[in-house]
Symmetry: C2
Subunit: 210 residues, 2 copies
């Protein structure tokens, strides 16, 4: 067994702790935000001592940045399934509708994704670099891929593809913020299908099919 090798065993043990700390810290930061998360909570959630947390990450701010960089660059960098090339060769109505449905489905059901957005926006004043990391690794790639798609379909006849992308993404994001994150579902109800249909209609209105 490789575990009999003391060096490998030690290294592995430390890496396991590091991952446990990241996981625990992620859970706590997403639940409580930065200021309301104590290092004791992190240590308890990770199943290690507080001193171990500090020996691995230095201080609270470094730990927070490590957690958020991880989330920004890995967990939530999916670009919402837009990376699939084959989907870009279908009818605009179908593609737009599929994109929008996918985005809304992801954002609606995934609670941790909502917590993630809450942190990004809520802490963007005190952690501007975190906000910029989100822009660079999440928002910008999404915008660029969608823009690329719009431009690759001249039949859409969009006067300003870049701006049109913002209209589409803004519509989606605002819907999730209002209905889900701000708990407006029962106060200002709106079926997502109506939004998707309207959006698709507005963008593809000039096409011959309509």
């Amino acid at each position: 067994m490789t575990n009999s090798d003391p060096q490998i065993s030690e290294r592995t043990k430390s890496e396991v702790k590091t991952e446990a700390i990241l996981k625990g810290a992620m859970k706590e930061f997403l639940k409580n935000g930065y200021a309301a998360t104590s290092m004791d909570k992190v240590a308890k959630s990770a199943g290690v001592s507080k001193a171990t947390v500090y020996s691995h990450f230095g201080d609270k701010e470094k730990l927070f940045n490590a957690v958020m960089q991880d989330l920004v660059k890995d967990k939530f960098q999916t670009v919402m399934g837009l990376e699939k090339p084959q989907s870009l060769e279908q009818d605009p109505q179908v593609v737009l509708s599929a994109m929008a449905t996918k985005m809304l489905a992801d954002a609606e059901c995934d609670r941790s994704r909502q917590d993630f957005m809450r942190i990004i926006i809520g802490e963007s004043g005190r952690f501007p670099e975190l906000a910029k990391a989100y822009i660079n690794h999440v928002a910008k790639p999404s915008i660029e891929i969608l823009t690329k798609y719009f431009k690759s379909h001249p039949a859409l006849e969009l006067a300003d593809p870049e701006a049109t992308v913002r209209v589409m993404m803004g519509t989606m994001v605002y819907f999730v913020i209002l209905q889900e994150m701000l708990h407006g579902k029962d106060i200002v109800p709106l079926e997502s299908e109506r939004l998707i249909k309207t959006l698709t209609y507005l963008i593809t209105i000039e096409l011959p099919q309509l």
Copy 2:
């Protein structure tokens, strides 16, 4: 002088303190968020003792709710100048463009408005009632007034006015979040005029003028 009346003088003094506390607490909560704002900071910012803060508002959570209710129901309830009736009788392109310009101008230059939105979204998980108050007193009135306008102009021929309103507001809000609040101005630049022009174009594309 009315100040010679001890009763009125006392009452006034207390009210002055209450207002000073609210003002100081508002400043601190908007700057630091809920958890990172201490009652010492509030007391110092208001120019009173900590005990006075507690005697007026009970505890930190009650003070926070009082501050945010004030912001939601007074300071940021403006409905972005949509209440003026005369503006609703002009050409849709002009009105839409004016609305969008006003909304973006308000949101872009007003730093405290951005801080306010950061708190609403950032604390919406731990203060759901605050989020619902925002929906009821800020978002819902805006949506309803804009919907009313859309419906009062059948010439717009909108298949779904309610959904179209969400498209418009979402576009505006997302733009401010990305460019201003998340500091994306230099990373994913976009002139607001292009957004407004595109939005107006998409919504009024069917009109005879175009």
